[in-house]
């Protein structure tokens, strides 16, 4: 699954009484750790300093929750490491 497409979206109900400008499409991330279940041993790891920045030791669990701007900009250069 491509990194940029693990976001799922939904459309909240927008009330006419809503005081603020409505957010039509809400987005949430479904990172890999939701689907892995019991973590298999021997997964590929980040080096220590990169792990500190990434927030996880294992590459497959890295989920930076890119904002929409970063997603658009990032789609040209796939930046895997933090």
């Amino acid at each position: 699954m491509n990194r940029h497409t693990w976001y799922r979206t939904y459309r909240p109900y927008i009330s006419p009484m809503d005081p603020c400008p409505p957010i039509k499409v809400k987005r949430y991330s479904t990172p890999p750790n939701l689907f892995v279940g019991f973590q298999p041993p021997g997964l590929e790891q980040f080096p220590a300093l990169a792990a500190l920045k990434a927030g996880t030791l294992w590459k497959c669990f890295y989920d930076p929750y890119y904002s929409l701007k970063e997603l658009k900009r990032g789609s040209e250069n796939e930046t895997a490491s933090p």
């Binding site: 019991f38 973590q39 041993p41 021997g42 220590a48 300093l49 792990a51 500190l52 996880t56 030791l57 294992w58």
Partner: protein
């Protein structure tokens, strides 16, 4: 007020990275107690963290007090910079 040398920050980041790996592996080992590679890596990083801290504390003073680090004379643990000022 003495300014900290730049390598203070890089050495501190090394320690933080080593400790982060230790935390991650410890949590992993809670659910995978017999994963030998992870245990080896964990012990390797504990050794690394101890040596990094020892070298760091010899240069810049105690990282922790209340018995986790040796004190210097005069006792300078209370001196600036405090952790949030670094």
């Amino acid at each position: 007020m003495k300014q900290l040398p730049p390598e203070y920050y890089s050495e501190l980041e090394e320690i933080q990275a080593a400790d982060f790996v230790i935390v991650e592996l410890a949590l992993y080992l809670h659910t995978h107690p017999d994963d030998l590679d992870a245990i080896k890596q964990y012990n390797e990083y504990v050794k690394l963290s101890k040596s990094l801290k020892k070298a760091f504390e010899r240069k810049y003073g105690a990282l922790t007090s209340f018995g986790y680090s040796f004190a210097r004379c005069p006792f300078d643990y209370k001196e600036a910079p405090w952790p949030w000022q670094v």
